[in-house]
Symmetry: C2
Subunit: 402 residues, 2 copies
């Protein structure tokens, strides 16, 4: 395991791609004793590093580990810690006394394989050339992202998970984890995920990729670190925000408000409405730090995901999952991973005899609700983990000890 | 009135911007006896031409004229005729014996002011410079598009409309027409329209405009006819298609089908799924013929539209409409102009004492349903026009004559 180090990458937006200071690293040994990590596509990677953060303490009998996979864009800094007190991307959900209680659980969040926040990805040095992989990085799949997370926790000495948790792409990855390692995880939390990518979301992501590829600075994938396709990433992210949020919430928040004259763009057809300014502001934060090729690889990985490839049908794929209990959450206003896809996951697991808690939340924040809507999400996830603790207590501990 | 002429513009996509052969032209005299057409923004245009097509015969007492405004992208060729037998964009709706029956009505469809299919727009010659306006074209609004249609039919000798009809942007324009000329139209048909642009649709259109503006070929609006920003228009149109259609219909049509190997793109992250190929094919047809600046102007005009500017509130604006009866249609799967906006129009008209037929159709084709879903749309519009004919008959004609 590498020492905790802060790595700095210059970005052309006057922002720096700084890894959160609590980031840790684990180097994976390869498959079958080799130094190569085998990918589902047939590709291979030498010397894979996975970046992660962790909170809480691993119990002596190692039965309290919770692995969290992220959506496409977050890094491994899911919540704050004494080492890094800045709020993480799921701050309300993870921590002492929070729904995923770090007084009780050892929580690990990994940066996805293919990502750009410390894990091996297109920005990493290709050991064969000494240069960044860029488009020489092999095709990756959600199954590979799950496998890299699995290998990472094994390197940390953990053979069994109490739970695997993920939302959006992280939910897909959690499904892939649970079906690839069926004996190794007791509880599954799948939030606003999908058992397979459907054409509307494929179209959204395809368009985001085309926007990035259309930016001349992308340079067919071989851009210099100082000349990243920031404009393409900015616009692609705006399209992401359109698909992640919901119409009604924006109506309540912005309606037809204009930006004040001094904030109005002088460019023709530039910013005039508050909603346009909001998109600019939020997308810029992302475009400044996310590597374009990482984005393309992870985006395509989501398109390729289809649980039906693990058994001939979605239900047959889901039937490989052997968790004690699963929590499946969907949101009414999610247009990207709609409720029908959450029902598909819950139904498939139930048909296979699994115990499933299914929640259909009326959040108005669309696909991103899990990041924002503490009021609806916190109690559902808190209850699920509290009940899983009772099982843990009755199995391994003296319930009268306290 | 100009003679019918076919105008040809070379396009860089190996396609030509050819006006449909039945296109006719009318030159507007200006406001207040001047040669200038006054715009809502304060801008002025000299020598405005409006392109149109027409079908059927104007009755002797001129009581059977139906004016159709288009969505953002169509030309005036709404249906075929002996002069141009190619199908129009609303072929199933307009024609002899069809819901808008040209045996009964004199139907006129105008190309919008600001458009690029024969009406004055950014591509037109600026009489002050002898060059295309490009971004020297003044800001236009939906109200101006309605006014240009109004002046056009007046030039044709029509002072009163039996009906004004429009869907999408055309529906907004029809609302603007009815409220600006309240004594001059008896029936109103508003399909999948909006009384005001809301932030989600403003965001979609803002992003489309940014995509076009990000194409280096756009050249800050002053591109040559041979170097149009086709890639930007292609991607912007794909985003349009995403917002015009509905997820479930694509799931049924494409699901996760891959393109055959010989049709697969050799570019990295190029076309792999059928839905991506479909988007390419459809968007290319549009990008090849639609002028980028026209697109920007009309797109912004939709953002600016707000009936509340005509009286202080949406309801006060709608209360200016004095039609005998209005037909308001919304579609369940429309994410761009959602059903709440159709209810807003219908409720506002009813509160003002207007008679309203409101239909909520379960079409699965999203915002574009009116173009595709003959089964749901044809009977509703046929019934509305048939009932309006009874009123026409009882007022002006001997009902026993036949």
């Amino acid at each position: 395991m590498k020492q905790n180090t802060a790595t700095k990458v210059e970005s052309p937006c006057q922002q720096e791609r700084i890894l959160p200071p609590a980031t840790r690293f684990v180097e994976l040994t390869g498959d079958y004793g080799s130094d190569e990590f085998m990918l589902r596509s047939g590709g291979r990677l030498k010397g894979v590093t996975i970046a992660y953060e962790c909170w809480g303490e691993l119990s002596l009998n190692q039965d309290n580990a919770v692995l969290i996979f992220t959506g496409l864009s977050p890094n491994a800094h899911a919540c704050s810690s004494p080492e890094d007190p800045t709020p993480g991307w799921w701050e309300y959900m993870i921590g002492p006394g929070k729904p995923i209680d770090t007084n009780r659980f050892f929580v690990i969040c990994v940066n996805s394989l293919g990502g750009c926040f410390g894990s091996t990805g297109p920005l990493s040095e290709n050991p064969d050339t000494g240069e960044s992989y860029n488009l020489d990085f092999p095709e990756i799949t959600i199954e590979d992202v799950a496998k890299a997370g699995h290998h990472a926790i094994q390197e940390l000495g953990i053979d069994h998970l109490h739970a695997v948790v993920g939302a959006s792409m992280g939910g897909m990855t959690s499904l892939a984890y649970a079906l690839q390692y069926p004996g190794e995880v007791d509880y599954l939390v799948s939030v606003s995920a999908a058992a397979r990518a459907l054409p509307f979301t494929i179209a959204v992501r395809s368009l985001q990729r085309e926007i990035v590829r259309s930016d001349p600075a992308w340079n067919k994938g071989y851009y210099a670190a100082s000349e990243e396709p920031v404009q393409g990433m900015l616009v692609a992210r705006k399209l992401g925000l359109l698909s992640y949020r919901a119409s009604e919430e924006w109506r309540q928040r912005f309606n037809r408000a204009r930006v004040s004259p001094e904030r109005r763009s002088t460019e023709p057809f530039g910013v005039e409405f508050e909603v346009e300014s909001y998109l600019n502001h939020n997308a810029c934060k992302f475009a400044a730090i996310f590597d374009a090729n990482s984005y393309l690889y992870l985006s395509r990985a989501m398109d390729l995901f289809d649980v039906a490839e693990h058994g001939g049908s979605v239900n047959a794929g889901l039937a490989k999952i052997q968790t004690k209990r699963a929590l499946v959450i969907g949101v009414e206003t999610d247009i990207l991973f709609p409720i029908e896809q959450q029902i598909e996951i819950a139904d498939g697991l139930r048909k296979a005899g699994r115990s499933v808690d299914f929640h259909y939340l009326s959040s108005i924040n669309g696909h991103d609700s899990f990041l924002i809507d503490k009021e609806h999400f916190a109690p559902v996830i808190a209850d699920f983990f509290a009940e899983s603790c009772i099982a843990l207590d009755s199995k391994d501990r003296d319930p009268y000890a306290n």
